[in-house]
């Protein structure tokens, strides 16, 4: 039979309609929805907050030894190496009043204040300048206010270190494993590799399984950790009852770490 133009057009129309329907029927045949595939959910026992914050009572926690003990715990569970040079990695460390609150220093401080040491860590700011400058979004602010690092994405440009007004970030100039006792590391937590920036993470991995940050847990009450947005939380209670200051208010980053003086 000779193909007429009329028949050809009919056939072409039908084929086009068939092509349109094919994906839809295929989707229906596969059952649709995500119920058949694997998916991820938040741990049922994890701790939640609208805005995590920390209040440090420096009336109780102010000696080098006490703070060092907390830092040691923190550094051990996160496999942070100790490198005896200016290339050291630190998640928690100490400083004098003038170093910690340079804008709020007086010329004639009290004797106590002169002697005291203050714990330092990442401030998990409301407006983190490190996040703003990171070109790969390796550092980012979570919905609960924690400023976290995705080491898979970090390219080691160190913009974040330049941007952080608190010096809370450390760069891995060398393979941290060469400075860790690999037999004694915490095998539940990864190490880092050479060429990435690292910092305190408010123990997100512990919050996810229902535990408080290690320093808060070990401090015996001198570090309070909780939800800043919840008026009944222990953090808000501590802020209500005490005079507190934060580091470098003029930087405008709104730190999430408060110090009772």
């Amino acid at each position: 039979m000779k193909q007429s133009r009329r028949n050809f057009l009919k056939f072409a129309g039908l084929s086009a309609a068939g092509l349109c329907l094919a994906p839809a029927t295929a989707a229906m045949a596969s059952g649709g929805g995500t119920s058949k595939e694997g998916h991820a959910v938040v741990n049922s026992n994890s701790l939640h907050a609208k805005r995590w914050a920390m209040v440090i009572d420096t009336r109780k926690l102010n000696t080098e030894e006490a703070i060092e003990a907390l830092a040691e715990t923190c550094h051990h569970i996160h496999n942070v190496p100790t490198i005896e040079s200016d290339q050291n990695i630190k998640w928690m460390w100490t400083g004098s009043y003038g170093e910690v609150f340079p804008e709020q220093e007086n010329n004639f401080p009290s004797e106590d204040q002169e002697k005291h040491k203050f714990p330092l860590l990442c401030n998990h700011c409301e407006f983190p300048s490190c996040v703003r400058v990171c070109p790969t979004k390796a550092t980012f602010k979570r919905a609960d206010g924690i400023v976290a690092m995705d080491y898979h994405r970090c390219i080691g440009c160190r913009y974040c270190m330049a941007a952080c007004p608190y010096g809370s970030r450390s760069f891995n100039f060398m393979d941290p494993r060469t400075h860790l006792d690999m037999d004694k590391i915490n095998t539940k937590f990864p190490t880092r590799m050479r060429g990435v920036v690292e910092k305190c993470n408010f123990c997100v991995e512990r919050l996810a399984v229902g535990e408080l940050p290690a320093c808060a847990e070990k401090s015996g009450g001198s570090i309070v950790f909780g939800d800043l947005q919840d008026p009944d939380s222990n953090v808000r209670k501590a802020l209500r009852e005490n005079f507190t200051i934060r580091r470098k208010p003029t930087a405008g980053t709104e730190p999430g770490v408060y110090y009772i003086i």
Partner: protein
Amino acid sequence: MHYGGKIITGLVIFLGLVSMPFWFNIGGSFQEPKLELPKDAKICVAPTENMRRNHMKLLNEWRDMALREGKRTYISAKGDKYTISLQNTCMKCHASKEQFCDKCHNAASVTPYCWDCHVPPKEAK
């Protein structure tokens, strides 16, 4: 064809050199690496064939889910729950990196950088 002879000889030598790998490997057969399968676990988070083909995609998804979205529990297609963790979940069953991961990766000549940070089970440093 002024230099026909030279050109054709040159081409033949060139093609011979380029196809050298094929000549060398003619007749040989690829030995599929023998993996040491987990002793105390029978099922994986996904079917074997799927894992063999897509484990790298799954690991990439897991990394984003756990780190960036905070979702650290994985519910498999069968409905089983797993903690999202290379080091603490995958490597608990696949207890030997050398006998499991490395065998295929060496055969395929790929060197993923997972182990620069994640701690493999005891055997390796």
